[in-house]
């Protein structure tokens, strides 16, 4: 530890939770200052849930597969949103710094890149909470389905999908650092490339055999298969849980490495001073 120039405050040379909290405060100020941003967080998950709720109601009488577990589509849509919002939570908070051309100021403070990453991840929790919890609660009176009825496995599914969202979010932030705001749209569509192979609304067996190999490389596929096992067969599949956890660890490490590599490249190219709209 050393003493700051002012002699007023000790500056931690290592990890500082206070700096992480400062960055979170910055994003919370932003959320608080703009109700349309907060509304947008709630809006899409709620609309998705309402849409798939009616779809489920229709399929309940027309599909024996859906009829076996009424909430299977609703649970899928809400869990998918956890992953999507988890990724977006990281990417959008990161983009806020790009939009406001603030990186140059941030990185002449003692803030470490990994402290910023932790703040981005923490904010993703907050954003997912704001977005998904109201949709989940709304589903109870509207469709008489509570995702909370999944019980403890829900915590596992939620965590595994959040981690995959963070991993993707970090990799996307790295790409935006590398290619500038021209690559901003990656943040909004990248996750959807995984949707068809994540077996969100249907079992993996529906996919062509060669695509199934790709699907099993995604933590999300194991989560959605695991979710259906709980809902249809009332068993928690540890094999899927472990596979998803191992893959998540791998993805998160890769996402973090990609981000830090591109962060260093940005310092080489002078992009931290120039990034902005």
């Amino acid at each position: 530890m050393s003493v700051a120039a002012t002699g007023l405050a000790p500056i931690r040379e290592g990890f500082s939770p206070a700096r992480v909290a400062a960055m979170m405060l910055r994003y919370l100020y932003l959320l608080r200052s703009s109700w349309p941003r907060t509304l947008e967080l709630i809006y899409w998950p709620a609309i998705q849930m309402i849409l798939w709720g009616f779809m489920s109601r229709f399929l309940m009488t027309n599909s024996s597969w859906v009829a076996r577990a009424g909430g299977v589509l609703l649970a899928a849509v809400m869990l998918w949103d956890v992953m999507f919002r988890g990724q977006l939570g990281v990417s959008v908070s990161f983009l806020e710094e790009m939009w406001s051309r603030n990186l140059g100021h941030l990185f002449v403070t003692p803030l470490r890149a990994y402290e910023w990453v932790i703040a981005l991840i923490a904010m993703s929790f907050v954003r997912v909470g704001i977005g998904v919890v109201p949709a989940a609660v709304l589903a109870i009176p509207l469709y008489h389905y509570s995702i909370f009825s999944l019980g403890l496995p829900l915590i596992a599914f939620f965590s595994l999908l959040m981690i995959m969202g963070w991993a993707m979010g970090l990799a996307i932030c790295g790409l935006i650092l590398r290619h500038g705001l021209g690559a901003e749209s990656i943040a909004w569509f990248a996750v959807f490339i995984l949707a068809p192979v994540s077996a969100i609304y249907y079992p993996v067996s529906v996919l062509p055999w060669w695509l199934q190999y790709v699907a099993w490389l995604l933590p999300s596929t194991h989560v959605f298969e695991g979710m259906r096992a709980v809902m249809f067969d009332h068993v928690f599949r540890f094999d899927h849980f472990i596979a998803a956890a191992v893959l998540d660890a791998l993805y998160l490490a890769c996402g973090g490495i990609v981000f830090l590599i591109f962060m260093r490249q940005a310092r080489k190219r002078g992009a931290l001073m120039q990034m902005g709209e």
Binding site: A5, T6, G7, I11, L30, S100, R112, G270, G276
Partner: protein
């Protein structure tokens, strides 16, 4: 605009700073900045070309040069925002490439080209940055800065809605939050009207005098440099092509103003070899 407040005990942020800090410690003999053989290339473009210079503690020095001379690139490297292609940078005796985080709490910078978040109010921005610097008693600090820099009336307005002059004062408040021992300024009065520009220059003069901080500014405002700086490094095409106090430069070139010296140098009529200039 009122003249900058005198730095009275108990009013401004200097009141918060004990007089027994780094500036008087044993390491004071090391220069504030020492740059050796510093180069930065972007592909085929050489932005900074093997420069050497030292800036002593407690002075105001300037990097002066036209567009593309390498001033901002040099500042970015000093701040650790940009990695050099070759060379070494030491700030307060610490290697910036290896021990950047030991130095960063002791320095700060301001540039009109790097914004503070527009949607956050001035107070929110200062709060976030104050916390990043780990400052204690932050509300008192912000209150003191707001008195000194006369930003009180718009402390709770979004930063993006301020005028250029107000933004400059807010950026200065952010740059002074941690009472830096080394303040790096990129064109500190760019786009300001003469009155506001003069106010900012007076403030910086008073700040350096009182805090004994080192200030390095990049500018192409000759009047500003002449008024504030005791040490001027003239840059062209990534090199330091001459150096001296404003008076020395005027005498050397037989000119009446630094602007004329600048034009001489910009047109390739410098009187010193780069190697001599670096001494």
């Amino acid at each position: 605009m009122r003249a900058p407040r005198p730095f009275c005990a108990g009013t401004g942020f200097f009141a918060l700073a004990p007089k027994t800090g780094f500036r008087h410690d044993a390491r004071v003999s090391t220069p504030a900045i020492q740059v050796r053989n510093l180069s930065k290339r972007f592909g085929d473009i050489v932005a900074v070309d093997g420069i050497d210079f030292t800036v002593a503690r407690g002075v105001t020095a300037a990097l002066l040069g036209g567009n593309g001379a390498g001033k901002t690139t040099t500042l970015s490297i000093l701040l650790g925002l940009l990695l050099p292609s070759a060379g070494a940078v030491e700030i307060f005796g610490e290697d910036m490439l290896r021990h950047r985080y030991r130095v960063l709490p002791r320095i700060n910078f301001s540039s009109p080209y790097v914004d503070l978040p527009h949607r956050l109010t001035v107070r929110q921005n200062l709060t976030v940055y104050g916390r990043l610097y780990g400052l204690r008693n932050l509300p008192a600090r912000i209150a003191a800065l707001s008195r000194d820099l006369q930003i009180g009336p718009f402390l709770d307005r979004p930063t993006g809605k301020l005028s250029a002059g107000q933004k400059t004062r807010v950026a200065l408040a952010k740059a002074l939050l941690n009472e830096p021992e080394l303040l790096l300024l990129d064109e500190p009065t760019a786009s300001l009207d003469p009155d506001t520009g003069d106010w900012v220059r007076s403030y910086l003069e008073a700040y350096r005098r009182h805090s004994r901080a080192t200030i390095l500014l990049a500018s192409h405002n000759m009047g500003e440099v002449e008024r504030l700086c005791s040490d001027v490094m003239m840059m062209r095409a990534g090199r330091i092509v001459d150096r001296g106090s404003p008076q020395e430069l005027l005498a050397r070139y037989g000119r009446a103003t630094l602007e004329q010296v600048f034009l001489d140098i910009a047109r390739g009529n410098e009187r010193f070899a780069p190697s001599e200039a670096a001494q």
